[in-house]
């Protein structure tokens, strides 16, 4: 067994045998809503429907069989397209809705933040609203008094706290609501698409806050968002929901890429409606895409690392490969090839190499995506397939003269005092 396989195995093992306690367990949850088909609100219609034997509503399955676990300290992302059931799931987690089947088990204090400013009243002052909102989130006056200064400072609303809320701008209201939610000392924080709030400075603050929370092993965050950037940046795990089912779960990068793909797939989905039998990242248009190592996967960091990309693509349009080198140890994309135009259709194997002598010891992953021209914008390309963890290539750089802390070695880059 090579060292690289070991690395990959360890990653999988770390996820499987997670020893941190489970703080949220969603077990086979299903939920459906009754949608009235005709105006059945009046007594007359209700009677007419009854005589005709019309039920007056259709049953819509919003969630079908959702199961997942969130461990303490996780930053857990829930993504999915509009109407996929994310918000319903969030409301079930927050115990606002009752699931029809299955159970939700929450350990610890859960602070839900489904919408901005729960219970905010425009006739009350900012201060009174903080106390009211805090009480609804489950804090006593003493507890809120203890965190009040923090909240005001984070919201940057010091001089406005004794003004009535109706005199606040909408941005100020949102900031106040958001500050209460994140300064509230809950164990589990449930956030629904709130990252796009406030001006730039406030966003930076939120960014810092999330990074901090991510490091804190006692805090758990469940984040629902459409922004794949925030998923990749903050989350350590994610699930992708489609039509009320989890279609992808686990690694945040895979989920985020799959989501991007799902969004583009919808245009073509109407054309062919066949069952999705391809592994994650692949589809009928690109049935095969894989990175094969050529060099030894345990690289000495001197010779360039060589690898082949094998793809199958038969359409007669210009297409590109894009290769990313990901540092799996420190996180982040180390370098990216951009879109490299390909000449040959069909099943092909193309060779590449990348110099690795600039790096210290690290573990890497080579990801490849197959891309087409964007019909609207000639400067952009759209991804139609990508390699999942099975098809990507893992390799490691190990050399005794290398250091371990930074990604780039002293040979590549150094500070100079001036």
């Amino acid at each position: 067994m090579t060292a690289v396989e070991n690395i990959a195995k360890n990653e999988v093992a770390a996820v499987a045998a997670d020893e941190r306690p489970v703080v949220l367990k969603v077990d086979h949850v299903a939920k459906s809503f009754r949608l009235p088909t005709e105006q059945a609100s009046g007594l007359k219609m209700a009677f007419l429907n009854w005589t005709k034997g019309i039920k007056g509503y259709t049953e819509q399955k919003v969630l079908r069989d959702i199961s997942f676990e969130v461990h303490q300290g996780d930053f857990f992302g829930i993504v999915g397209r509009n109407g996929s059931g994310k918000s319903t799931l969030l409301k079930i987690i927050s115990q606002i809705y009752v699931p029809e089947q299955g159970t939700v088990d929450v350990r610890g204090k859960l602070v839900p933040f489904i919408e901005l400013g729960v219970g905010f009243n425009p006739e009350l002052t900012g201060r009174e609203n903080v106390y009211l909102n805090g009480a609804l989130l489950g804090f006593t006056r003493e507890e809120i008094t203890a965190m009040y200064d923090d909240i005001v400072e984070f919201a940057e609303l010091g001089e406005f706290m004794d003004q009535k809320l109706k005199n606040y701008s909408s941005g100020m209201q949102v900031r106040l609501a958001f500050s209460v939610a994140i300064k509230a000392q809950g164990d589990i924080l449930v956030l629904d698409e709130v990252l796009a709030v406030g001006d730039e400075a406030f966003q930076r603050k939120c960014d810092n806050f999330f990074s901090e929370v991510k490091k804190d092993p006692t805090k758990t965050v469940i984040l629902v968002t459409h922004s794949m950037d925030s998923v990749k940046k903050y989350c350590n795990k994610a699930i992708l929901i489609k039509n009320g089912e989890i279609i992808e779960s686990g690694d945040k990068d895979v989920v985020a890429d799959r989501y991007t793909l799902e969004n583009m797939a919808t245009k073509k989905a109407s054309e062919k409606d066949e069952p999705d039998s391809f592994p994650t990242g692949l589809n009928a248009r690109v049935p095969f895409l894989k990175v094969w190592p050529v060099s030894n996967q345990l690289s000495d960091g001197v010779e360039p690392f060589r690898f082949d990309v094998e793809y199958e693509f038969t359409e007669d349009v210009p297409f590109y490969l894009a290769i990313s080198l990901v540092d799996t140890k420190r996180g982040g994309v180390v370098c990216d090839s951009g879109s490299v135009p390909m000449q040959n259709n069909g099943r092909q194997r193309v060779s590449f190499e990348i110099p690795v002598n600039a790096f210290n010891n690290s573990d890497f992953k080579l990801l490849v995506s197959l891309r087409l021209d964007n019909p609207e914008d000639p400067n952009r390309t759209d991804m139609i397939a990508f390699t999942n963890d099975d098809n990507s290539c893992f390799f490691a750089v190990r050399n005794s003269k290398n250091k371990n802390y930074a990604l780039l070695s002293d040979r590549a880059l150094q500070f100079h005092q001036i």
Binding site: P112, I114, V118, L136, G138
Partner: protein
């Protein structure tokens, strides 16, 4: 024992916190934007009383001739407006706070309880006014006054029970609001507030049984008990002085408990679905 107490405290800690905060907010918002503010809690029943006194006592001569009838009328007005307010506001409270229910999980009976408690605070202020006026209006305070809190507790239980039932119904059928308005009006005339209950037998002796029947209504019984114990035990009749059968006398008390029980039961059964229906 201490452990059981702690358990109880932990279980209801959150409810109590939210309850306090909602009662406070409701009270703050009640007279928002008015110049006289809380003073309206006192002025409103007094003005209502003045109107009723002029119309019914002065013009229509609805009086039993006892010196305390005027203060008894004021007291009755206050108690009735409590019942009126707590049930009709309690009824719409769940729907009005729908935004809250859809965004956060909390025991939603708190919403109804806090609304009725708001009405209770007004009643407390009003009763202080009644007691003060009583000194100038021939009220006869005796040791019976000590029983008043119990009577008021009973009235609150009835109001809360009714409000819980109505709030549940109102979520599904908005028609309830109109129906309840009519029922309240009918109940107001069926309750001896603007007229002394003895007036029925005086004016139509063959209808004396109606007096007893009216007295069996739990709200009437409770209101009469409060007035009897607070204002004047000699002048105000109660169910015990009008109905001779002690079993029948107990009926409205039992009914009050049953109303509260039904209210809690109906509300609990449906409350989990409120967020979805709204």
């Amino acid at each position: 024992m201490k452990k059981a107490w702690d358990n109880l405290r932990n279980r209801y800690h959150y409810s109590v916190v939210v309850f306090k905060e909602l009662v406070k907010t409701d009270f703050q918002l009640r007279y928002q934007g008015s110049f006289l503010g809380v003073l309206w809690s006192v002025l409103k029943p007094l003005m209502l009383f003045a109107v009723m006194y002029v119309v019914f006592v002065r013009f229509l001569k609805f009086s039993d001739g006892t010196p305390s009838f005027a203060i008894s009328l004021l007291c009755g007005t206050c108690l009735w407006s409590f019942f009126n307010e707590s049930t009709s506001m309690g009824m719409s409270s769940i729907v009005n706070r729908g935004d809250l229910l859809r965004k956060i999980h909390f025991p939603n009976y708190i919403i109804v309880a806090s609304t009725t408690m708001g009405a209770m605070i007004s009643l407390a202020i009003n009763l202080v006014v009644v007691i003060v006026f009583g000194f100038f209006a021939h009220a006869h305070y005796t040791w019976h006054v000590l029983l008043v809190p119990l009577n008021i507790l009973q009235l609150y239980a009835i109001a809360l029970g009714v409000a819980l039932i109505l709030a549940t119904l109102y979520v599904y059928f908005r028609d309830v609001a109109h129906i309840w308005e009519v029922i309240l009006q009918a109940m107001f005339y069926a309750t001896p507030i603007i007229y002394p209950i003895t007036m029925i037998a005086q004016r139509a002796p063959e209808l004396a049984w109606v007096e007893k029947l009216l007295m069996m209504v739990p709200t009437t019984q409770a209101i009469m008990d409060v007035r009897h114990n607070l204002i004047s035990p000699e002048d105000v009749p109660t169910i015990w002085t009008l109905v001779n059968n002690p079993l029948l006398c107990l009926l409205p008390y039992v009914a009050s408990v049953v109303i509260l029980w039904i209210g809690v039961h109906v509300f609990r059964k449906h409350s989990a679905k409120f967020a979805e229906v709204l």
